[in-house]
């Protein structure tokens, strides 16, 4: 694997192109975006290889590793999964060869750029079904090949998104914002609009590639979310498949801003191009799902609530001028009020949270200030909402947690006319 030159108008290196020519048309493409994932990638690749041989032994498959310049030997570990034709490399019994390509994309590490390389490869190889696997998905099982790929390969779905068994406090950005807002706006109850493990049809991949959303920085960093939203907007056939347990990953507070850019930024960015669609959408409906839509686990988890509370209050105070540009006076007043509450009484109510988010979305659309500043300003407010979610669900059962999430979703749906008012009034 080596980095080679690209032509001015191509995202593909000459070396990658040569390797794609050698692979030719495939039925199934597995994409692995990586960057220094040597600690986890080996077993993941081995599971993928085993799954392909067991579940799709006759199909033409390829593994494409889009690497962001790993220095820890990640690409070499991926390349070990190749099944060659008898030069003593593979001991695996297989009908056909399994080519593996590792390529370093030209720009700096970013999942969006990696996804773009994978989509480009999928189009050139005319892949019928593609699956992207996160290099951190150590819980992967061979069955994922069935649950994710088969709906695309055999049932004509365009996009298969995962559902997981999660800790109740894992993915709070998802449960408090992404899921309820996507559902309220676009009308589909998609639990994981920001999916790291998913499958899609070659047709959908090509459509997305043709839109070339990577011109926009937000889309570049939040391409998975963008991908899902484009699929919804394009009325693609979407389903969900349960993948089992998703391990809780401890994130530092500094991870929140990039996460907001990747997810909320993409969601807010999508509103402009798809305004006609979500303006006309009312209510929400479920999508076909294999297995449970969601499962919450309830193990005890230590959370520094005091710090969350402090960060919220400090943010409200320090970003006063920014919020004045983004929020309505009434909303800002309310935030000021709850920022003064004692920790024991602190609560960021669902209705206020919904109103806050919709006002942020409208401000983002209007670009009242720098869009990135808008996203950054959301961080302390999200911490306040997360604290409330933690408190409300501290001793709740899984059903109670899900009921609270559902209540929040309904609040987003009820509040949608307010967003329409803001959107259309300010246009």
């Amino acid at each position: 694997m080596k980095k080679a030159n690209t032509t001015d108008d191509s995202i593909l290196t000459d070396e990658l192109l040569r390797q794609l020519i050698n692979v030719g048309e495939v039925d199934i493409l597995i994409g692995l975006p990586t960057h220094n994932n040597a600690k986890t990638i080996g077993p993941i690749v081995a599971t993928i290889q085993t799954g392909l041989l067991a579940l799709f032994p006759r199909e033409r498959a390829v593994i494409i590793n889009a690497d962001g310049g790993s220095q820890d030997g990640t690409p070499e570990l991926v390349l070990n999964a190749a099944i060659d034709d008898g030069r003593g490399r593979s001991k695996v019994s297989a009908l056909r060869t399994l080519p593996v390509i590792s390529t370093q994309y030209a720009s700096s590490p970013a999942r969006g750029t990696a996804l773009r390389s994978i989509l480009a490869a999928a189009e050139l190889l005319r892949a019928r079904a593609c699956m992207v696997v996160s290099p951190e998905s150590t819980q992967i099982k061979t069955e994922w090949l069935t649950t994710l790929v088969r709906p695309v390969y055999a049932e004509e779905f365009d996009l298969v998104l995962p559902t997981y068994s999660r800790h109740r406090f894992d993915g709070m950005l998802l449960t408090n914002l992404l899921y309820p807002m996507t559902r309220a706006l676009y009308g589909w109850r998609i639990r994981e609009p920001y999916a790291l493990d998913f499958a899609f049809s070659g047709r959908l991949g090509s459509q997305f590639l043709a839109q070339n959303p990577w011109q926009d920085e937000t889309a570049r960093s939040g391409s998975e979310t963008y991908f899902t939203l484009n699929a919804i907007a394009g009325q693609a056939r979407i389903c969900q498949s349960f993948l089992g347990n998703r391990e809780h990953v401890e994130r530092g507070s500094s991870d929140l801003i990039p996460a907001l850019r990747q997810t909320v930024g993409a969601l807010f960015s999508s509103l402009g191009p798809h305004a006609d669609l979500w303006n006309a959408s009312t209510g929400s409906q479920s999508v076909p799902t294999t297995g449970p839509e969601v499962e919450f686990t309830l193990e005890p988890l230590r959370v520094n609530r005091k710090r969350l509370r402090e960060m919220f209050s400090a943010g409200v105070a320090e970003l006063e001028s920014v919020f004045q540009a983004i929020l309505s006076p009434a909303t800002l007043d309310e935030l000021r009020r709850i920022a003064q509450l004692e920790e024991a009484l602190f609560r960021y109510p669902a209705e206020l949270w919904v109103r806050t988010i919709y006002e942020f979305a409208a401000a983002y659309h209007k670009s009242v200030i720098s869009r990135d500043h808008i996203l950054q300003a959301l961080a302390p407010l999200f911490r306040g909402r997360a604290l409330t979610f933690l408190v409300e669900n501290r001793s709740g059962s899984a059903d109670e947690v899900e009921n609270n999430v559902e209540a929040l979703c309904l609040a987003f749906e009820r509040g949608k006319p307010y967003l329409l008012e803001l959107w259309n009034g300010r246009e």
């Binding site: 040569r18 390797q19 020519i21 050698n22 692979v23 030719g24 048309e25 032994p57 006759r58 033409r60 034709d85 008898g86 030069r87 019994s93 297989a94 009908l95 056909r96 060869t97 080519p99």
Partner: protein, 549 residues
């Protein structure tokens, strides 16, 4: 008149292109509905023009024909339906006049139950020929031996009502196995071979050789005692008839086949059974892996020995030498209709297997003729004949040769009802559409293409005698190899895919050579340090002669 073929060295079989034919199927000279030796003789010009230089005849001996002649009732004569011994001699002379060698079938392992030897053997426990066959009071012996025709046979033992005991048969129950532990049997079978060698035949295809000897607690295949029998026959052959050839039918893995070459003192040639289904698999998968892997597993054989390669023959396309996964894939790919399946194989001809796709038929022949070995072509495949799966057993691939679009396809003047088997009549493969006369008239017909490629094959000894080195380009849809013999080097490149392909070949070892395409004789760019880029159309193949000029 005895006419010797032009000597071509002791290893003529390495340069041979074999045409497999059953006398019954080829041409009926006397209008009785059955092909015969006089008819075959009349068609020798056709075979000469085709470009083959050896004919392998399926059994033509007197027989009740319950297994298409593999149930022999008299080893020293010709079945009356096919003519007389004199007719055979005339045919043999006619072939030799055209420099065409004749290989005949020799069924060593068993006879028909109608053979006088068996009739004597069963007549009494005290008969002198009792011990010519394998008898037992029970049906429990040799329990580890497999059953070959598992669709029809439940056991390898059959009870004989006459002698009230059991006889051993590895194939149909009407085919009792000879007892090769008996020296008298070995001597008599050599007498049989000697009889035909003295008439002038050039070699034998020995049927079912792994099964000659039985031993308890073994699978009764490939036993040392069987090899000893073959060695003895070979020694006599070399001593008394130098230059004659033995070809083994042994459907085994390459490692199990290797002992049949021994130190060059058993068989001259053996069919490479495991390669054949993998060629079909490689084309269907569009992946060279099955082909390269089996050839890598194929051991070196003594310099005087040779593999015999084939695409199709008179039997089913055997899938025995495949894993369960591979067999399942082949059945689903080539025999979706379950009536096409027989035993562990597929009873279809080449053209229908390849969906009458001319490009794939050419590609398969391209590989057959360029991989290491002597090719064997099944009659009718040179014109793309079809099959009739409604005929039982393997009879669907043994229908009359289609010479013309007229009465009985030009095979016979008799009433159609009297033909030994109905002609293929469907719109795609039937004799009005697929026949020799019409393909003679068309310059680019399959028949004329076959004539051209056989001429190219014969223009060099490399394919028959040369070494092989696989190139393993990164594009796994491309099967590429270099064949070398003495000062001659040939590069073969095969596109196993139904789409055009680009491939880069590492030919640095041949730097400075010019590539000359062997059909059109056009020159291609000189080989340099950089990977040699070629593009190939769907299922296209190239043969290049490498020349330093």
């Amino acid at each position: 008149m005895m006419v010797d073929v032009k000597p071509a060295g002791d290893s003529w079989y390495k340069r041979a292109i074999i045409y497999q034919v059953h006398v019954r199927t080829f041409f009926d000279s006397n209008g009785d509905g059955v092909g015969d030796f006089q008819g075959l003789d009349q068609k020798m010009d056709y075979l000469q023009e085709l470009g083959i230089n050896a004919v392998w005849l399926m059994p033509f001996f007197p027989s009740p024909l319950r297994d298409d002649g593999y149930d022999i009732a008299d080893y020293f004569s010709v079945h009356s339906s096919y003519g007389t011994l004199e007719d055979f001699k005339k045919f043999l002379a006619s072939a030799h006049q055209r420099q065409i060698r004749v290989i005949i079938e020799m069924v060593l392992n068993h006879t028909s139950d109608q053979h006088p030897w068996f009739q004597e053997s069963r007549s009494s426990q005290n008969n002198p020929r009792r011990d010519w066959y394998v008898w037992s009071d029970t049906d429990t012996g040799y329990a580890k031996a497999g059953i070959n025709f598992r669709d029809t046979e439940l056991s390898n033992w059959a009870r004989d009502p006459v002698s009230k005991s059991y006889y051993w048969h590895r194939f149909f129950s009407h085919q009792p196995d000879l007892n090769y532990d008996n020296p008298a049997v070995r001597e008599e079978m050599w007498n049989v071979m000697k009889f035909w060698l003295e008439l002038g035949v050039d070699g034998f295809r020995l049927d079912a050789v792994p099964y000659l000897v039985e031993r308890e607690n073994t699978n009764c295949e490939n036993l040392p005692e069987t090899h000893a029998v073959i060695k003895e026959l070979r020694r006599k052959l070399d001593e008394q008839f130098p230059g004659k050839m033995l070809l083994a039918e042994a459907n085994q893995w390459p490692a199990d086949l290797r002992p049949y070459f021994a130190d060059g003192d058993e068989f001259h040639m053996a069919f490479h059974f495991p390669l054949m289904p993998r060629m079909f698999m490689g084309v269907k998968l569009e992946d060279r892996k099955p082909i390269t892997e089996i050839l890598q597993q194929t051991p070196e054989i003594p310099p005087s020995c040779q593999w015999c390669l084939f695409l199709r023959n008179h039997d089913e396309l055997t899938l025995e030498m495949l894993t369960d996964m591979e067999r399942s894939y082949m059945n689903d790919s080539y025999a979706q209709d379950k009536t096409m399946r027989l035993n562990l194989g597929i009873r279809r001809r080449l053209a229908p297997l390849l969906e009458n796709d001319r490009r794939r038929i050419e590609l398969m022949h391209g590989m057959l003729l360029s991989l290491p070995g002597t090719p064997s072509i099944y009659y009718g495949d040179e014109i793309g004949m079809g099959d009739n799966i409604n005929l039982g057993d393997r009879n669907g691939v043994r229908t009359p040769m289609q010479w013309t679009g007229g009465w009985n396809g030009g095979f016979s003047v008799t009433e159609p009802e009297k033909l030994y088997a109905p002609l293929i009549q469907d719109p795609v493969y039937g004799y009005p559409a697929v026949n020799v006369i019409s393909q003679n008239r068309t310059e680019h017909s399959l028949l004329n293409w076959m004539r051209r490629i056989l001429a190219v094959r014969k223009s060099t000894d490399v394919f028959g005698c040369g070494s092989i080195e696989f190139l393993y380009p990164a594009n796994h849809r491309i099967l590429a190899y270099v064949r070398q013999w003495r000062a001659e080097t040939i590069l073969a490149v095969n596109n196993l895919s139904n789409a055009a392909q680009a491939v880069e070949l590492d030919l640095r070892s041949y730097k400075g050579n010019i590539l000359i395409e062997m059909f059109g004789k056009n020159i291609f760019p000189r080989v340099g340090e950089l990977p040699y880029l070629l593009t190939l159309g769907p299922y296209q193949f190239y043969w290049f002669r490498l020349r330093r000029i």
